[in-house]
Subunit: 187 residues, 2 copies
DNA sequence: GATTATATTAAACACTGTTTAATAAAAAGG
DNA sequence: CCTTTTTATTAAACAGTGTTTAATATAATC
């Protein structure tokens, strides 16, 4: 039942957008009364949180994929792959990270969850920076700052690509040039 | 009357957040019936659009301030000032650019308006890049790509600072290091 | 002063999230 | 097998939302 509710909610979320995701529609789609939802969830917020949880797991997969490139010191393709994967995944970046930022802003629990999920990626980035000549003799704090800035660049680029609906060709070009420019920071 | 409605809406938006901005509350606050709103606006969307319009004008001021630094070729302080100004202005970045991104995503008119407002800033950035040695012999398209990436970096950084509620000290450090890293791209 | 245009509202419609109390179904215990 | 207890489900109501309609009051114009 819980799974059916979540699945119905996901369909409404991805097809009609978050503003059309209503508990009554969720219930109608699975042929139950609206009140049933409150037997499996405390409120609408919890349903969205559950969907968020699923999406966060997806982005961890993306991070793993890019981490493979980084471990081979192929930073450029790592960055390009990150932009490609992230802008292609409808769920997290489009419906959650962007469409639902207001909720994330307000509900610190979800935010911290997200930060915790991002943490491994940031730390992987830090250890990559540490072996770069440009950051050889810098403190851990400085390296983490640098990692955060790089992360911000990728986040901002991905967000803009999605918002402005950049086409595939320009997306590739943006990603590649971004990768080259970011690598310049390390020299 | 129109102004009174907008002012009431602004108060509710900034104090209670966009999810508590309701036409009935707007009307109640100015001691009128809810129906009056529909004599001056077609729908709730138009009220928010009007508030957005005001906010876009504010960000143009920010761009003008940073442009002064750029014209003196003081890129570092320009970047630092941008981050400082943008993360300090509650209205645009917090309530609009972030809290209301879903709306911006859906309503292309507002998006295009925003893009048009950003345009002068982007072009100013392009002309700054053109005089940099690193971009001397590159095409206009490549320079615009670079400008977009730099813009993305600043957007992403500002968004993260606001979302994660970074304190003033670390904000300054982030901004300064971001500025230095961005400048490295130009060499 | 009569007429036209503008401003304002009460009331209704169709939604929304959520709660409550009642009922149906299933599980557990004797 | 029957009773009791727990779980699942719902109809109905509450309070809120955006919006429309038709009626009324006010202001402007002729």
């Amino acid at each position: 039942m819980r799974a059916a509710i979540l699945q119905s909610a996901r369909v409404l979320l991805t097809h009609n957008g978050i503003e059309h995701l209503s508990i009554r529609k969720v219930a109608q789609q699975i042929d139950y009364s609206p009140a049933i939802v409150y037997h499996y969830f405390n409120n609408k917020e919890e349903i969205i949180d559950a969907l968020l949880e699923e999406d966060y797991e997806k982005i961890v997969e993306v991070v793993k994929t890019t981490a493979e490139y980084y471990s081979k010191k192929d930073f450029k393709n790592g960055i390009v792959a990150y932009i490609r994967l992230v802008t292609d995944m409808g769920a997290f970046y489009k419906n959650v990270m962007i469409s639902d930022l207001p909720r994330i802003l307000q509900r610190t629990s979800v935010l911290h969850k997200g930060a915790a999920q991002e943490r491994p990626a940031l730390e992987a980035l830090c250890s990559d920076l540490r072996v770069c000549p440009a950051f050889a003799n810098q403190s851990d704090a400085d390296i983490e700052l640098a990692a955060q800035i790089i992360w911000s660049t990728l986040f901002g680029l991905a967000t803009r690509i999605i918002i402005e609906d950049v086409d595939k060709d320009q997306k590739e070009r943006l990603a590649e040039q971004a990768a080259e420019l970011i690598l310049k920071m390390f020299r």
